[in-house]
């Protein structure tokens, strides 16, 4: 991982390396220059040494000739040695261009020394005249040496002119290089610093932006930071936090939804309980009222009306009580009879009701209020449309393990399509009554109760009547089935 600390170290390292390199280069170059300068100076000093030494030798020789003592002799010898040293060092200065001149120079020094020696020798032999001539000769050679030194200087200057100019040009180059290096280093540092600061501030900026988004409540945008230092670590942690918060929020939202749904269903439950209570109150009120009416009719002498009201009340009670219970076939048959009595009161002579009951079949259990809707259908379709009345047969038979219940009318009947639709409950209740629904309801309940499909059969011929046959298995004891 690239830490910020590491980055700072790297920046500092780059700066130090750069500075060191520049320093090294300049030092190297300076050393080189220094050596060159030294060499050049050395050359001139050596040449000057020769001419100086020769002049000194002449002076010393003069001293010696005028006063030949040990001291002056020593001095002369010393200066001669010095001259020879200088001559030896001169040979090192030779190059292709001044070889000729320098050899001459060196030889001239030799000649000079020889002349000096000769002069000393003559002086020792007391041949002062000759010694003086030689001295003059030596002096002249010394002058030649000086002149030649100058001319060598000259030719040196000429030979090395380009070299000196090079040095000057080079120091100018060095200046240029210094300026260039300085500016390059500055710009490089600027660039590095900029990149470095960018690598720190950019992730911070991104992080700030992400934090702002979070502050605004947008928890769904992932936090992305393109760096690989501590900030990225921070960003990752931050992102993790965002994801967690997001999850929590979602959970809270789900909980709230469930709660509100619960509240709603509670409300619905209360409403339905209320309705249930209300619906219980109304029938009882009606039932009581009917009983009162029946008593009143009886007291008033209208016995028929009183009976009718009793039947209605019984029917109502049965309706209220037995919807979710099983009853015996007998009970069902009784209710049916009561209903038919009411209908008789309505239709009087037009309704001919025939009933056949097989006593052995009456004990078996069956769902309550299943026959009433069927007989109502028969009345509606078999009696109502016919002004001269109709016939309705109701039979209960016990045939081999099954109880057969038949309801037959001689009404208008129905075609096959209607029959089928009626069985499947898909008929449109437009014919005045909700009988179709009642029929379908009965069929469903029977099928559910017995767990069989072939409970209900319809036989019908248009214009001649309809016969509904229920084929019920024999069931003795059944718990509440709803």
């Amino acid at each position: 991982m690239n830490t910020i600390q590491k980055k700072i170290w790297m920046l500092a390292g780059v700066v130090i390396v750069m500075m060191f390199a520049i320093w090294l280069m300049l030092t190297f170059y300076n050393q080189k220059m220094q050596d060159q300068y030294n060499d050049i100076l050395q050359r001139y000093l050596q040449m000057h040494e020769v001419s100086d030494a020769s002049q000194q030798t002449v002076t010393n020789l003069n001293d010696y000739l005028t006063e030949p003592t040990e001291r002056t002799a020593n001095r002369l010898e010393r200066s001669q040695e010095r001259l020879l040293d200088a001559q030896a060092s001169m040979l090192e200065l030779r190059n292709a261009e001044n070889e000729f001149t320098l050899t001459n120079y060196s030889n001239m020094i030799e000649s000079f020394n020889e002349t000096v020696d000769r002069s000393v020798a003559f002086s020792e032999q007391a041949e002062n005249e000759t010694a003086l001539t030689e001295f003059t000769e030596a002096n002249r050679i010394s002058i030649y040496i000086s002149e030649m030194t100058l001319s060598i200087f000259n030719s040196e200057l000429k030979t090395y002119e380009r070299f000196y100019r090079d040095i000057i040009r080079q120091s100018e180059d060095l200046d240029t290089m210094g300026v260039l290096l300085l500016s390059l280093t500055s710009i490089l540092l600027l660039l590095f610093t900029y990149l470095f600061s960018l690598s720190i501030t950019k992730p911070v900026h991104q992080l700030t932006k992400a934090a702002n988004e979070l502050a605004k409540g947008r928890f769904d945008q992932p936090i992305r930071v393109d760096s690989n230092d501590e900030i990225s670590f921070l960003a990752k942690t931050f992102d993790h936090m965002r994801i967690n918060i997001n999850k929590l929020i979602l959970e809270i939202q789900q909980k709230a939804q469930v709660e509100s749904e619960l509240q709603e269903s509670k409300l619905l439950l209360q409403q339905s309980q209320m309705r249930h209570l209300q619906s219980q109150i109304n029938p009882h009120f009606l039932f009581n009222t009917l009983n009162t009416l029946s008593k009143k009719a009886y007291l008033d002498g209208a016995e028929e009306t009183s009976d009718l009201l009793v039947s209605v009340a019984g029917l109502l009670r049965y309706n209220l009580k037995r919807l979710d219970h099983t009853v015996t076939v007998q009970e069902e048959a009784y209710v049916l009879k009561q209903y038919m009595e009411i209908q008789k009161a309505r239709f009087s002579d037009r309704l001919n009701f025939h009933i056949e009951l097989d006593e052995s079949a009456l004990l078996y259990q069956m769902p309550s209020l299943t026959l009433q809707p069927l007989i109502e259908n028969a009345v509606i379709h078999g009696i109502e449309p016919k002004e001269d009345g109709g016939l309705i047969w109701f039979r209960i038979k016990d045939v081999e393990g099954n109880v057969f219940i038949e309801i037959e009318d001689n009404g208008q009947g129905m075609d096959e399509a209607k029959k089928k639709a009626l069985l499947e409950g898909g008929i449109n209740p437009k014919e005045g009554h909700s009988t179709a629904i009642g029929f379908a309801n009965v069929v469903k309940r029977l099928q559910m109760f017995y767990g069989r499909e072939d409970v209900v059969t319809i036989e019908s011929t248009p214009g001649r009547g309809t016969k509904i046959i229920l084929k019920l298995p024999k069931v003795m004891e059944v718990e509440n089935y709803v």
Binding site: M25, R94, A96, M108, S111, Y144, D166, M177, L184
Partner: protein, 326 residues
């Protein structure tokens, strides 16, 4: 913004980097070219050519020939000397050469006491061989090893023959010569006089023309005054030829006169092309240089011992002026 800053910085870096690299390269890799130091143990022969007339084309040619030969022989050679016959400077150069113990000296002979002193005593004491070139100094006076150059005596003769063939065997001739005639000039004069002995009808006069231009001009006037019927001029010193002809043309037409000289360089060839000079003896300076170095090397290597002290003669020829003859 960020991109722009980075881009600008990067391009600046690139440009500066480029120039910096160039500059660093220039500074670090500019090796100074020192003249090669010589450490050879065997020292090459050093020969000096010394002349009094470095300013003349003649000596330039001598130097050319000598240098060419020296390069061939592999010896170091330098041309020293003085300008415009500065004798003092010339002698000093000879002395320096002697004191410098060069291996050989090729010198333009100077017929003076000092010169002879140097060559006879100093050179002998240092054991340095001397060859005279172009101008000779008699061997008995200078102890030179040999002489390389023209045979001036025959040059004088040749020029006189030329005059005779141009002018005929009758006429008056003026010989103009400087105050101190050099050995070579004397030989030329002698050659001419020897030649004149064959032609008794040609009368010759010798007029001293001094050493400066003014004296030469005066001498010319004097010659013209004293010998109005003169037909030809011989100018021994070619340096004075220009002055002489100027003086003549000031008084009369230049064309009728025959004017001859000896080439030692200077402006003779110019006068020739202008057609003012009718003839000149041309020498072979290049050959002289070449031959003198060859002989010196033969001497130094002990190949030819001794050298012919009579000298080695180089070619001479007559060059005619362009203007044609009168």
């Amino acid at each position: 913004m960020r991109r722009k800053v980075i881009f600008v910085l990067c391009s600046l870096c690139a440009v500066l980097g480029f120039f910096t690299v160039l500059s660093v390269n220039k500074v670090l890799h500019s090796e100074w070219e020192f003249p090669e130091t010589v450490k050879s143990e065997k020292e090459r022969f050093r020969i000096v050519v010394i002349s009094q007339e470095l300013d003349t084309p003649f000596w330039k040619l001598v130097d050319e020939g000598a240098s060419k030969q020296a390069a061939k022989e592999g010896v170091s050679l330098e041309l020293w000397g003085s300008y415009s016959k500065n004798q003092e400077d010339f002698l000093k150069q000879v002395e320096i050469a002697l004191h410098s113990k060069v291996d050989g000296i090729i010198v333009q002979g100077l017929d003076t006491e000092e010169f002879q002193q140097l060559t006879r005593i100093k050179a002998a004491s240092y054991g340095i061989p001397i060859i005279t070139v172009a101008n000779d100094v008699p061997v008995e006076k200078s102890l030179r090893k040999t002489y390389v150059g023209s045979d001036h005596h025959s040059a004088g003769k040749m020029l006189m023959e030329k005059l005779v063939s141009d002018m005929g065997e009758q006429g008056e001739v003026v010989l103009l010569g400087g105050t101190d005639l050099e050995y070579s000039q004397r030989l030329r004069l002698k050659g001419m006089e020897d030649s004149l002995e064959n032609y008794p009808d040609i009368i010759s006069f010798y007029v001293e023309s001094g050493s400066s231009d003014e004296e030469a001009a005066a001498a010319t006037q004097k010659a013209l005054n004293e010998h109005p019927d003169v037909d030809a001029f011989f100018v021994l010193n070619v340096r004075q030829a220009g002055t002489v002809m100027q003086e003549i043309s000031r008084r009369t037409e230049l064309e009728p006169y025959y004017i001859y000289s000896f080439d030692d360089g200077s402006d003779a060839s110019e006068l020739l092309t202008e057609g003012k000079l009718d003839g000149i003896i041309e020498q072979s300076p290049e050959q002289m240089g070449e031959m003198s170095v060859t002989l010196m090397m033969q001497w130094l290597r002990n190949e030819v011992v001794p050298l012919d002290s009579e000298g080695y003669i180089t070619d001479i020829r007559i060059v005619e002026g362009k203007g044609g003859l009168p």
